[in-house]
């Protein structure tokens, strides 16, 4: 009879109970092994007779089964044994926290953001990894971060302490842009993508009304979106010079674009379009993947997304679009000019995630050294990198002019999973500047350069902040934001009085406190634009 939380609570507690017992057992094991391998820590050579160090490993896109070829090869090479911890990519945060709550603390934990890192650190489940230690243990990798962006070392600190090896994703610096269905654009008489908001509106209207797919039914839209995802309608917000979330002004001060007057005007326009039925009304119940699908399946003609993904060779959208529209292509527009001049674009930025280690590792010096050694090799040793990211040479990939090229049957991430290659062990895929030449085909690098052309100073990089001690006092701020976001578009809230009220509610419900806390903590760290 009892549903819901009770069942959850009991399930979780049962798991908790069970795993407490398990934790107790494995704790003992860890200690024993640590003592045994202490001396052989350096070489990690195959000569050591000591039992392999067991490392539980949690990262993106786990292989379908244990004991894959790549796993075995890595285990042999480093004298370790992996225990693969699996978490769904789509619900990474949620399931990671569930695992941790149940007392299952992996040795290696990929964390997506400083916020996630800080929450885990606050819970006391992470081992401290001081910057100096990372620098000395990962001597080849550390300098590459200094070259990219020295603030990578500091933006993830929690309570002044470092809990993770910083990761950077250089390609993340590319802007979000609008991809258009080229055939449709031609059909409505546009040789080039629109360059300002008026033209954009015209395209939306024609995509809706002029039957661009030629099936005789009014069943197409210009644009769709994914619920309250802040990556929606970036072209529109960008035309007003903002993004509807945390951003940095020209003096380096952090503020939230959602409560600005520019956001008000952007919403006003979106609301007008929504009421005129130019925006897919069902965007509310869609997720990002649904919105992508609508674009490939010719239901919608424009998709705002991370521009690299439009690349027809390796981009997520580009490849899928090509597959379902072989004679068509995506043309990518530049940011739309708005009322205040040239448009801007959202960008993830190159700050990426962290590799953290579970608390138990702190007590096991040998294991910690081993993990560092492994990570450093994954990031900087070509042989290890290729093994983890691409598989075994000759079998899964070939070296062409010194650059790795996957065999066609192992080209996609999904197929890499079956052999254990890809992002799971290959955490540094696309994230180590020393290995970049293997990450992208030449054509894709050229594509990336074209996307970034003329974007200097026009990108709003993500602001990866984290002040959990303040954020946790305001559990309802996020709800207010997402709810209002949708209602400003659907017109349930107007953009005069209701918007004013939203701004003042937002401030009192924690927005102001957060703004202050972020600015205090990160003074001068985030570069303007």
């Amino acid at each position: 009879m009892k549903r819901g939380f009770n069942r959850w609570a009991s399930g979780i507690s049962a798991v908790l109970l069970g795993s407490l017992l398990l934790a107790a057992c494995s704790g003992n094991n860890g200690g024993g092994e640590g003592g045994g391998t202490n001396g052989a820590g350096e070489g990690g050579g195959p000569g050591g007779a000591a039992a392999p160090i067991e490392i539980s490993w949690l990262s993106f896109n786990p292989p379908d089964k244990d004991g894959t070829e790549v796993q075995k090869a890595l285990e042999e090479k480093f004298g370790v044994k992996f225990k693969n911890i699996r978490v769904e990519r789509q619900k990474y945060n949620e399931q990671l926290f569930l695992k941790i709550s149940a007392g299952e603390i992996p040795d290696v934990i990929y964390t997506e953001s400083p916020g996630q890192l800080a929450e885990l650190a606050q819970q006391g489940v992470l081992a401290e990894l001081p910057e100096a230690e990372i620098r000395s243990e990962m001597a080849e990798y550390a300098p590459t971060l200094d070259e990219l962006d020295p603030s990578l070392w500091t933006y993830g600190l929690y309570d002044g302490k470092s809990y993770g090896v910083p990761l950077a994703w250089p390609i993340g610096n590319l802007p979000f842009l609008s991809g258009y269905n080229a055939e449709w654009l031609n059909k409505i008489g546009y040789a080039e993508p629109p360059t300002n908001l008026e033209e954009f509106e015209d395209v939306l209207r024609k995509f809706r009304n002029d039957d661009p797919d030629g099936n005789g039914a009014k069943d197409t839209y210009g644009i769709s979106a994914a619920g309250a995802d802040r990556r929606n309608f970036t072209s529109v917000f960008g035309a007003f010079g903002i993004k509807p979330e945390w951003m940095v002004d020209e003096n380096g001060v952090v503020y939230n674009g959602l409560i600005t007057d520019q956001a008000r005007e952007a919403f006003r326009l979106l609301q007008k379009w929504y009421k005129e039925d130019l925006i897919d009304k069902e965007f509310i119940t869609k997720n990002a993947q649904d919105a992508h699908n609508d674009f490939y399946n010719r239901k919608v003609g424009i998709r705002d997304w991370m521009s690299f993904q439009f690349d027809p060779t390796v981009g997520i959208l580009g490849v899928a679009f090509k597959a379902s529209n072989p004679d068509n292509e995506i043309v990518v527009g530049k940011p739309l000019e708005g009322p205040d001049g040239p448009g801007t674009a959202l960008s993830y930025g190159s700050k990426n995630g962290f590799i953290a280690m579970g608390k138990p590792v702190a007590e096991d010096e040998a294991k910690k050294k081993k993990i560092y050694e492994l990570l450093n090799a994954l990031a900087t040793d070509e042989e290890t990198f290729l093994l983890a990211s691409f598989g075994i040479e000759g079998e899964h990939y070939d070296l062409v002019d010194g650059v790795a090229a996957s065999k066609p049957e192992f080209a996609s991430e999904a197929n890499k999973l079956s052999i254990g290659a890809g992002l799971f062990y290959g955490i540094f895929t696309q994230k180590s500047t020393l290995m970049e030449k293997h990450d992208y085909p030449k054509s894709s690098l050229e594509f990336a350069a074209a996307m970034d052309e003329g974007m200097e100073g026009r990108k709003h990089y993500a602001v990866p902040w984290s002040v959990p001690e303040v954020a946790e006092q305001y559990p309802d701020l996020g709800t207010l934001e997402t709810e209002s976001y949708i209602k400003f578009i659907t017109g349930e809230l107007d953009l005069d009085e209701d918007f004013d009220k939203f701004v003042s509610d937002w401030k009192t419900m924690g927005g102001q406190a957060l703004t202050d806390a972020i600015n205090e903590k990160y003074k001068g760290l985030f570069a303007p634009k």
Binding site: M1, K2, R3, G4, F5, N6, W8, A9, S10, G11, S13, A14, L16, L17, L20, N93, E94, F97, L98, I100, S101, G103, E119, Q122, Q123, G124, V125, D219, G227, A228, K281, E282, I284, T285, K359, A471, E472, Q473, P475, D476, T479, T482, E483, Y485, I486, K487, T490, E492, M509
Partner: protein, 318 residues
């Protein structure tokens, strides 16, 4: 059978203590049957009670439940006074649950009465089985189905509505229709399953009563009113009692899988809030406090309903 066991046990208690053990031994087969139930409840319903202390603690995973520091009523204070969502959430929970009770509770009774009138055995079996089917699908699957079926542009329901000349309705995205959608889809999923207990009760109604009524010239409607429903009342009241104890259970799985930011205002209930904030934001203390509040209210509702039903002359739970 049960009666007999009771009789024997009562007899034995009058005798010396030693013979109690003898009696236990004698009926060990029956007692063994009880064991899985006891184990189930102790593991899944009593052991977790240990975690209730989290409502008064600042939980840190590494410190464990016992080791985390006490914070008194801090979380209750946050829940009632700091969070301005609590009122809305409680209201939603009560409204949705109330709608489920008002419309969802009688639905299986009506269906059971209708099944009872079907004369053709084969037809009855088939319709019954079909009505059970949705019960066996989880909400995550049904949510996918519903999103497709109810889509304003491509869904079959809205195509029907449009062909009748009305505007399509965004059942899952329009706050005015969302609760309606919840209740109707809830009924659709559980109505068949709910009839089972009533059909069993109907089968036990003494046929002589109907024969006598026919002799007195009562038609089928009269028979239903004067015989069938009064005979069902004890079962109905017990079912209602149990249902009212769960008045704050407004259907977690269903809502979690169907809701979205556009309808949050009318659909966010205690359970979804606990899940979102507790699991999503690591706030175990606060959400345990909400869960505890919910259980206390549920318990009070059971006591109240039990009292009321006894007053009305029906058999209560205790």
């Amino acid at each position: 059978m049960e009666q007999a066991v009771h009789e024997k046990l009562r007899d034995s208690s009058k005798r010396s203590k030693h013979s109690v053990w003898r009696e236990y031994k004698k009926y060990r087969g029956l007692l063994l049957l009880l064991l899985p139930g006891i184990v189930f409840y102790s593991v899944f319903h009593y052991a977790p009670l240990y975690g209730i202390q989290l409502a008064f603690k600042e939980f840190r995973i590494m410190d464990g439940i016992a080791g985390s520091p006490w914070v008194g009523f801090k979380h209750f204070n946050t829940m009632f006074f700091v969070s301005n969502q609590f009122g809305t959430i409680l209201k939603n929970t009560l409204i949705i649950s109330f709608l489920h009770i008002v419309f969802g509770f009688p639905a299986p009774i009506v269906l059971a009465l209708l099944f009872n009138e079907i004369r053709l055995k084969v037809f009855k079996r088939v319709t019954q089985s079909i009505s059970y089917l949705p019960h066996f699908l989880s909400w995550i699957i049904l949510a996918g189905l519903l999103t497709t079926i109810l889509s304003p542009s491509t869904g079959i329901v809205n195509q029907l509505i449009a062909s009748l000349g009305f505007e399509p309705i965004y059942f899952l995205g329009d706050p005015n229709y969302f609760r309606f959608t919840l209740v109707v889809s809830g009924i659709w999923k559980e109505i068949g399953w709910g009839t089972i207990i009533y059909l069993a009760a109907l089968a036990s109604v003494d046929p002589h009563l109907y024969e006598a009524a026919v002799v007195d010239g009562a038609n089928r409607w009269r028979q239903t009113l004067s015989i069938t429903i009064p005979c069902l009342l004890p079962v109905i009241s017990i079912m209602l009692l149990l249902r009212i104890g769960g008045i704050l259970d407004a259907g977690f799985d269903q809502i979690l899988n169907l809701y979205n930011p556009a309808v949050l205002k009318v659909s966010d209930i205690l359970d979804t809030y606990v899940y979102r904030v507790g699991i999503g934001q690591f706030q175990y203390g606060l959400t345990t406090a909400v869960g505890l509040f919910k259980n206390v209210v549920g318990f009070m509702m059971i006591l109240f309903a039990n009292y009321a039903i006894k007053k009305m002359g029906q058999e209560g739970l205790f």
